[in-house]
């Protein structure tokens, strides 16, 4: 009898405990946080993760999109493995002259533009930092204009300045007795033009980040340096730069990613020409995938940005972490 009583009790307790457990689950901070973040998670899943995996899937297909593009004749892999790898498009791209041209141009474009944006942003930030507080807001606002105008719009204005036949710059140059410059017709000048426009658009971002970093450097450090007899260059080298290192690294990483994946400036200004000499990964992917109707190959080209940027991100973030630990 006692057994029977004992055996009938626990279910009752469970029945009473269930609502409390559910309530407790929903009252947990982590659950509430998860539920509040859920819309964002769904958004990221729908607009970032799903398209990324879909792009990977597309890149494994043949042009007709009805079968898988298996790899063939790999010299560095046994045939058994090679013929079961669905990266035929990537293998094909490695054999194309234009692909390597695009790799070179993307690196040249991103590295040059980021270096000059950082340099210009650093100089501008110092200028603005030294302007008396009263007039500083106006200058900050004006210098941010290139960054806040949609690049596709501002690049249209640049297009008119660089137009092959009616360039405003050439009008001025010829007026001053110089020769016309083929801004978008010659490979070197076309690359210069797209990089210049990218610097013009992106430098204000660096400026505002560096300005924020500059404002957070304690004045006492400069005072101490001045007492020690440090000149202007030594103050920059031994005080300003070390204090801004992390911001410089993060800004450079962020800008490298955005610059590497740039589409609008090149698309509007040169469309990749002349002779494909200004194509970047994104513009060439669009050319192949949308204009050429080879969506799998276009998807493959766009995916090449991922490993290159991942390597850059790992190095820069590792460096920041190491410095953080040292501190």
């Amino acid at each position: 009898m006692a057994d029977a009583v004992l055996s009938s009790d626990p279910p009752k307790r469970r029945a009473i405990a269930r609502p409390n457990a559910v309530r407790r689950f929903f009252q947990r901070k982590s659950t509430v946080a998860f539920l509040m973040a859920l819309p964002l998670i769904l958004l990221i899943f729908g607009l970032v993760i799903y398209p990324a995996f879909y792009a990977i899937y597309l890149s494994t297909l043949r042009k007709s999109m009805t079968s898988v593009a298996w790899m063939r004749n790999c010299s560095w892999l046994p045939d058994v493995i090679c013929t079961h790898m669905p990266f035929g498009n990537m293998q094909f791209l490695f054999t194309r002259e234009t692909f390597w041209k695009v790799v070179y141009q993307s690196c040249l474009f991103a590295i040059t533009a980021v270096i000059f944006k950082a340099l210009l942003g650093f100089i501008l930030a110092h200028f603005v930092h030294n302007i008396p507080a009263k007039g500083q807001r106006k200058w900050r606002g004006m210098l941010l204009i290139p960054w806040v105008i949609p690049p596709a719009m501002s690049t249209l204005a640049w297009l008119w300045l660089f137009d092959p036949s009616y360039s405003a710059f050439n009008y001025v140059l010829t007026g001053m007795g110089f020769d016309r410059i083929p801004w978008t017709g010659d490979a070197g000048w076309a690359r210069f033009s797209v990089i210049l426009v990218n610097i013009w658009v992106g430098a204000p971002f660096f400026m505002i980040m560096y300005l924020a970093a500059l404002k957070s450097v304690p004045d006492q450090l400069y005072e101490a340096a001045a007492i020690d007899g440090a000149n202007w260059w030594q103050r920059i080298w031994y005080v300003t730069l070390p204090m801004m290192r992390n911001i410089i690294a993060i800004t450079a990483l962020f800008s490298t990613i955005v610059t590497f994946a740039n589409f609008d400036i090149v698309r509007v200004l040169t469309a990749g020409g002349p002779l494909d000499q200004t194509h970047l990964f994104a513009t060439w992917a669009f050319k192949l995938g949308i204009e050429g109707g080879d969506i799998p190959l276009g998807a493959s080209v766009s995916l090449f940005m991922v490993p290159i940027l991942a390597v850059a991100a790992i190095f820069i973030l590792r460096d920041i972490n190491q410095r953080g630990n040292e501190a």
């Binding site: 043949r62 042009k63 007709s64 094909f92 054999t95 194309r96 002259e97 234009t98 137009d163 092959p164 036949s165 009616y166 083929p182 978008t184 017709g185 076309a190 040169t270 469309a271 990749g272 020409g273 002349p274 002779l275 494909d276 050319k287 995938g289 949308i290 204009e291 050429g292 109707g293 080879d294 969506i295």
Partner: protein, 445 residues
């Protein structure tokens, strides 16, 4: 126990409701034939969209169809993005306007239009070989050639400048209202005229860039020499004598084009004509129409005419649009009925008039509409634009290669790149080797 009874009033109400419910599906109301969603090309010419809206909505009212029309611009390739997105999603418009290569690119996703094409051909006349090449897969018609957006990119010349500097009376060669007398309009004559105009400071404004205007002109020149990078069987023919001859000719001519021609886009040639800086461009009459508005003294000197003849014939660049029905369309019968309505001679005449002669129907019997004879100034400037005397072969660059290969050659602008590479000093055989390697890549399935 209370007995349930039905009053006379209640019986009548119930009968009326039941009858209405049963009969509703069979009543021919305002949208009895369902819904239809279509995407048409957003026309450059202001007001041209109104004509297509009127024709389509008149058909919809008559057929009791709820019609939705979206006008999709080709600027920024929005139409290509729409086509690609709908093909991937297998959902979207019932009928979509597709330019040149896209019906072939999505052939397996398109509803065959053999029934209506047979009917339209017997009514409006035969279609040209380029339309067949782009709009037929095996024995299946992929759609209906659209009047709206279809164009020939032949020469538009300055009457005064050609006469003055090259000694060519283009109006006498291509008289308004009569057949061309253009036997002397050959590649040699073109080259001499290009050289003379270049010397006079009014060069021919022919682009050598990556965009369609440049590619189309190069394509027509190549075909005039019988040059193809890939033949109809899909075999590589880059290193052949016709290709060498065509390339040599194009480079000779390119020396007389503006120095910045390799950087030109599809707007550069228009600006070249309207600004009065050149004696000739290769374009449909949109440039002339802009000149009519912005520079009437230049428009009054423009004459649209045929291409020069090469050793293998006289080829003009023709870029047709097509109206295609997706296989996943929800209302195929209504879409087909609309395509027939849009291809009636009255509707075609209305589209051509609304576009000021820009649009060209692909059917043989519809190339002599009054708009082209009457447009001006100068009167008759567009008479020869739709090729009324069939004196040139309407073609598309990169043909006769199988369309999916030709599309790659076309979109990658391989022909103009070959010209520019050789023009910039690369030896011909190196240029041909580069082109062969590029095209080999396009052959992959």
């Amino acid at each position: 126990m209370r007995r349930q009874t039905m009053s006379r009033r209640r019986f009548l109400a119930a009968t009326a409701i039941t009858t209405t419910a049963l009969a509703t599906p069979f009543v021919r109301h305002a949208h009895a034939a369902g819904k239809l969603s279509i995407g048409l090309w957003d026309h450059w010419v202001p007001g041209a969209n109104r004509a297509s809206t009127e024709v389509a909505q008149a058909w919809a009212a008559k057929e009791k169809v709820e019609l939705t029309i979206d006008y999709i611009p080709s600027q920024g390739n929005k139409n290509l993005l729409t086509i690609a997105a709908e093909a991937q999603a297998k959902s979207g418009h019932d009928m979509l306007a597709m330019p040149t290569w896209w019906p072939q690119a999505h052939a397996e996703l398109l509803e065959p239009c053999n029934d209506i094409m047979t009917q339209l051909i017997s009514q409006n006349g035969e279609v040209n070989e380029t339309v067949r090449y782009l709009n037929r897969a095996g024995d299946k018609w992929l759609g209906v050639p659209a009047t709206i957006g279809s164009q020939i990119k032949g020469p538009c010349s300055r009457i005064d400048l050609l006469k003055q500097h090259a000694g060519i009376d283009i109006q006498a060669m291509y008289p308004a209202g009569a057949a061309p007398k253009a036997d002397g309009w050959t590649m040699d004559a073109y080259l001499k005229a290009a050289e003379a105009c270049h010397k006079a400071g009014v060069p021919f404004g022919v682009g050598l860039g990556d965009t369609t205007d440049s590619v189309d002109t190069a394509g027509a020149f190549f075909l005039s020499f019988g040059a193809a990078l890939v033949n109809a069987k899909g075999e590589l023919t880059v290193k052949s004598d016709p290709v060498r001859q065509a390339l040599e000719f194009c480079v000779k001519a390119a020396k007389f084009y503006p120095a910045d021609a390799p950087a030109w886009d599809d707007g550069s040639n228009n600006r070249w004509l309207v600004s009065g800086r050149g004696a000739m461009i290769m374009n449909p009459p949109s440039a002339w129409a802009v000149a009519k508005r912005d520079a009437p003294q230049i428009a009054a000197q423009c004459w649209t005419h045929g291409m020069p003849a090469g050793p293998r014939g006289r080829y003009a660049p023709f870029l047709p649009y097509f109206w295609n029905i997706w296989s996943f369309s929800q209302n195929k019968p209504a879409a087909k009925s609309l395509l027939v309505a849009l291809s009636q001679p009255d509707a075609v005449a209305k589209f051509v008039a609304a576009s000021a002669g820009y649009d060209i129907p692909s059917f043989d019997k519809l190339t002599t509409l009054p708009t082209w004879a009457e447009e001006g100034p100068p009167k008759g400037t567009l008479y020869h634009y739709p090729n009324p005397h069939n004196h040139q072969t309407l073609s598309i660059a990169a043909s006769p290669a199988p369309p999916k290969i030709a599309q790659q050659i076309y979109s990658q602008a391989t022909l103009t790149k070959m010209i520019v590479r050789h023009l910039q000093g690369e030896p011909m055989e190196r240029t041909l080797a580069w082109a062969e390697s590029e095209v080999e890549g396009f052959l992959r399935g």
